[in-house]
Symmetry: C2
Subunit: 297 residues, 2 copies
Amino acid sequence: MPLPPLVADLTGFDLLLSVARLGSVGRAATEHRVSQPAASAKLRELERRLGLTLLHRTPRGSTLTGTGALVADWARTAVDAADALATGVAALRVTHESRLAVAASQTVAEYLLPPWLVALRAAHPGLTVTLQAANSADVAAAVLAGRVELGFVEGPDQPAGLHAETVATDRLAVVVAPGHPWARRRSVAAAELAATPLVSREAGSGTRRAYEEALGLAQAAPLLELSSTTAIKHAVAAGSGAAVLSSLAVTAELAAGTLVAVPTGVALQRRLRAVWKAGDQLTGPARDLYAIARRHR
Amino acid sequence: MPLPPLVADLTGFDLLLSVARLGSVGRAATEHRVSQPAASAKLRELERRLGLTLLHRTPRGSTLTGTGALVADWARTAVDAADALATGVAALRVTHESRLAVAASQTVAEYLLPPWLVALRAAHPGLTVTLQAANSADVAAAVLAGRVELGFVEGPDQPAGLHAETVATDRLAVVVAPGHPWARRRSVAAAELAATPLVSREAGSGTRRAYEEALGLAQAAPLLELSSTTAIKHAVAAGSGAAVLSSLAVTAELAAGTLVAVPTGVALQRRLRAVWKAGDQLTGPARDLYAIARRHR
DNA sequence: CAGAGGCATAACGCCAGCTTATGACCTCAG
DNA sequence: CTGAGGTCATAAGCTGGCGTTATGCCTCTG
């Protein structure tokens, strides 16, 4: 199901947010580097397509109507998400004149880092960040080798030669499709969970290791081994079985009802930690990013 | 600061998500009702602009690369937010062949309802929802008069003639600008809070009423009275003083560091309740929406 | 009463992006 | 080994959306 064309292009909504902030269509146009008539037409077209009146236009400027304010607040969420996407992509891009290099494990890179980077960028407008997404072992290696200043790792291991500080705790959730027998269970005991083959990532993934450790398993026998979280979610939603995933990864699906979380008797959680070279003191943007990560905890 | 042009248009990212799900550029093109070359060109252009390789193209289809999967996950967040925006707008639009009419107070309409409606639409693909955003008293009146089947209200009042069930609890947060004297305080006592004029909504707003009740005030003297949550946030961020706002309304600002939450000795919270006519039984989409709201709690 | 600031309308030109048609490539079946 | 079917890339041509400048009208201010 493709995105409705109404919202595929966010520039109109972005313009609306500028009008809300600046109080005039003309000033919003200036901020967006377009002519005033272009902005005026764009906003009018937006109103026409939504079938809503968003602005009170007066000779002294423009203000939002009630519905305009409501739409603007929803739009802000979408624009912020797009902004986080842009920031993440910019960091992923290998820029050779980078200023801060960061490495992060999959879960952190996917779900936590983008808003942190948006906040960091607010504090350091000109800063370029490069991000390397890798598994926890590679992150540790990159920090040790000095390729990145700061790393974020998951899982139980204590990396040698690194100073580690917990910045967040990630709960792991057992998820199944709504039609799965477990979907209506009050609870699934640790023993039953340990005895059930799951849809999971490849051996050595941070999520899988944390799960194996929590259940005291040396190596869990997988029902199906897939290489990405997304693939696992789809397989489970299609009824392939149960999976253990970061709760951060399944909020949207739980909200939509595509997946159902099953309560368990086990505390499935793991710490997400910031790591840097032991003995070193974090400075500049790296220090700020660490502070932001702690603050968001 | 306008949105980077890279992400202003989400169609490319949306297409990427379809490719991830369907495994082929051509099928994604079909789903989006465009020709295969158009989709191919669009994805290639996306890769060019991001400076990243997102797809493995093979004669048997296309799959995401590692960075492609990462970008796709971030993109999914943005696309979902845009989808919530579209759903909210569609519900706001007065459609005359509506099927489910809902009224909600400001906080619920702004922050909670869009994802609920997205989930509801997943269960009822053809359903048209109309939404009326109003204050709690008007919501109750609309339900009583039968203009809407289901309402969502906030605040302490028990609406006469209506059956009410709590669907969520909203914490109120005391927020100030980072430079405000309170920003570094460990705690602000109830008495001090009650004695301090705040930036607030007009008398009678749900948030303001809940705050007055929690502090045992008949009527709080405002420092500044503004008509929208957004205006209040900006005024506070600019250093105008302190405000009490729904924690739902300030998550983004707290994350970005624009605003700072001040711990207080008072339990500032209020219930958000679903209401329908006493004696009636919820049926059909209204019943499902209520269930979704409870599930998201 | 004049000027400034704000939004709308008009006229025009350009380029982005879509479509159809076709080609190149791989895989698999017989 | 060979042909069919599926996938993606390239080419060429056209349309129309969108932005620009120029201008007019309105309202509030001094």
